[in-house]
């Protein structure tokens, strides 16, 4: 496949035969991530904090027919689970990656035996890992603070969650590919972030959306993820339709990112 990723010298060297994941680079990126209080808060802390705030409203702990007999706090657990990966994938990662390209950090790495793709893979592992940690934290706090039942179909839940993380990272990679500067990455990231949060159900969990809206939202990556998580939480295997939507988005976005990503 002749893609922008591969047709420059930097691209060729970036995607060469050397291992794609470099442990030293990954370790260094994790260390740098820990020095970003903003990212730490919004990715790891905020989703659970939101859950705690909503769960502290007494009315949110009463079963509500609008929520299909669930308590609002139950419905907000999957929302919190998706929130961290939206912030990490759409806001934090594209800005970091675009900055690495803008400031020549990818280029400097390409003068060493390690390929700049090692920085890309480290960033994806890092934000993927942070998103999953954030999700587990939200699940744990939901369980212990508000008695929200853990997913009754844990394997289906894990599968839906991993697919959602992959879709978020792929979307983040596309944003980074399309942004020449960190500022542009921030702007596109925010423009995509709010619709993504809406689809994930931050303002209105998908169960409470009108039918037509819920169906449309179900075709978006985060809407499909929310639906799949809800089904798995309730003990059903997540619908193949929702999982299929997530896979399709991931494939499409990954192809777009590798088509447009520039190393310099």
């Amino acid at each position: 496949m002749s893609t922008a990723l591969g047709n420059t010298a930097l691209g060729r060297t970036a995607l060469g035969k050397t291992a794609l994941v470099n442990p030293a680079v990954l370790k260094s990126e994790v260390r740098l991530f820990r020095r970003e209080p903003g990212s730490l808060f919004w990715i790891l802390g905020f989703p659970t904090l939101l859950l705690v705030i909503l769960g502290s409203i007494p009315a949110f702990r009463d079963a509500d027919p609008d929520f299909g007999g669930l308590r609002p706090v139950d419905a907000y657990v999957p929302v919190s689970v998706l929130l961290g990966l939206t912030v990490g994938g759409l806001q934090a990662m594209p800005q970091t990656l675009t900055g690495y390209r803008e400031r020549g950090i990818l280029r400097r790495m390409s003068t060493t035996p390690v390929r700049p793709a090692a920085l890309l893979s480290a960033q994806m592992l890092l934000y993927g890992g942070a998103a999953l940690t954030s999700s587990l934290l939200a699940l744990a706090v939901g369980r212990f603070a508000f008695d929200v039942r853990l997913p009754e179909q844990p394997f289906g839940y894990a599968l839906a969650l991993v697919l959602a993380v992959l879709a978020a990272l792929a979307l983040g990679a596309v944003i980074s590919a399309l942004s020449r500067t960190t500022k542009i990455a921030g702007a596109i990231g925010s423009a995509v972030f709010f619709p993504a949060m809406f689809c994930a159900g931050v303002w209105m969990p998908v169960q409470t959306m009108p039918d037509v809206l819920a169906r449309v939202v179900g075709y978006t990556p985060f809407g499909a993820a929310a639906e799949a998580l809800n089904q798995a939480a309730a003990g059903d295997w997540p619908g193949w339709g929702h999982l299929g939507v997530l896979v399709a988005w991931t494939v499409l976005l990954t192809a777009a990112a590798s088509r447009w990503f520039r190393w310099e």
Partner: protein
């Protein structure tokens, strides 16, 4: 042939959007040299070294680094070649020590970063984050990163641009020190003083071509007006006599002072002329032209004639250029 040259560039060509940036550039760098690539901005210097570094794929021609192809033998080339890039940063919150440790982990036989940091005066900055370093400290860190893999060749691109004179001189000592440690240096610069002081040989690149390739002294000797004679004559000299001087490149009268540029022959002829006409020369000075003068002369030639490459092949000490002749 003796040993494999450290760098071999033959008939290198690279265009951007149909406009040639590098057009049939050839040169060879031998082990232990400080080899300068000198030229005006936009002459094709950086593109040339980027092809050597394997960051760009040449359109045509051959590039070898210790016999390796920097594009197809990527990892092996980078084990022997370290590069400091123009306008390339590090993560803002990475400390000096972390950067050194990280980059050391990329190589099979890295140097110990502690003595390296010491040599580059970074020891008291080890816990400082990249964003907090001064321009000179950043440059020293980049040199350290270029050297950490224990390379045989190091490429330094516009290393001293933006440094104050003190830091620049310190950097020059450092480059000499690097060579003294057995590392071959490819130095890209547009500072004549720097090239004259440091380089064993210089390729002057202008408009994507090698305009000349020689030692700094050779380049100066080769340019018209390599010697400058100036004096204040006790009486005005006849213009015809002056213009008839052998090897004369230029004459200038200013505030009663004559400045001539030419060759050693011109110097002798001037002295004879003065003796013959009984004119006394006050404050007589004979100086060598600088590389600056030679450079302006060489790049001026390239703009008025297309003979830049022929010029390079005709040069007596230019044994490594295999231009146009082919």
């Amino acid at each position: 042939m003796a040993s494999t040259p450290m760098i071999e560039v033959t008939d290198l060509r690279k265009s951007y959007g149909g406009r040639p940036a590098v057009d049939r550039v050839s040169f060879t760098v031998e082990e232990g040299e400080i080899f300068g690539v000198l030229g005006p901005n936009g002459a094709g210097k950086t593109t040339t070294v980027e092809c050597v570094e394997g960051l760009r794929v040449p359109d045509a021609g051959r590039v070898r680094v210790t016999g390796l192809d920097p594009v197809t033998e990527h990892a092996a080339t980078r084990q022997v070649l370290g590069a400091q890039l123009q306008e390339s940063e590090l993560q803002a919150k990475l400390t000096v020590r972390e950067a050194l440790e990280l980059y050391a982990a990329f190589y099979t036989r890295p140097l110990d970063w502690r003595p390296l940091a010491e040599r580059l005066g970074l020891t008291d900055k080890l816990t400082t984050r990249f964003a907090k370093l001064s321009g000179g400290q950043k440059q020293r860190l980049f040199i350290a990163l270029a050297l950490i893999g224990n390379p045989r060749i190091v490429v330094l691109d516009e290393l001293t641009t933006g440094l104050d004179p003190r830091a620049r001189r310190d950097t020059w000592e450092l480059i000499e020190d690097i060579r003294a440690n057995g590392v071959t240096v490819l130095l890209v610069t547009h500072f004549m003083e720097e090239a004259q002081r440091l380089c064993d040989r210089i390729a002057v690149i202008d408009k994507g071509r090698v305009a000349a390739l020689d030692t700094p002294a050779g380049l100066i000797r080769r340019s018209a007006g390599a010697t400058v004679i100036s004096f204040t004559p006790s009486a005005r000299l006849d213009d015809r006599d002056l213009n008839a001087l052998p090897g004369l490149a230029s004459v200038e009268y200013k505030d009663g002072r004559v400045t001539l540029s030419g060759t050693d022959e011109t110097v002798n002829a001037v002295i004879t002329l003065l003796a013959r006409t009984h004119v006394t020369a006050h404050q007589l000075r004979v100086t060598d032209a600088t590389l600056d003068d030679a450079f302006l002369d060489l790049t001026k030639d390239a703009t008025t004639t297309t003979g830049a490459t022929e010029d390079a092949t005709k040069a007596p000490s230019n044994d490594t250029t295999k231009e146009a002749a082919a």
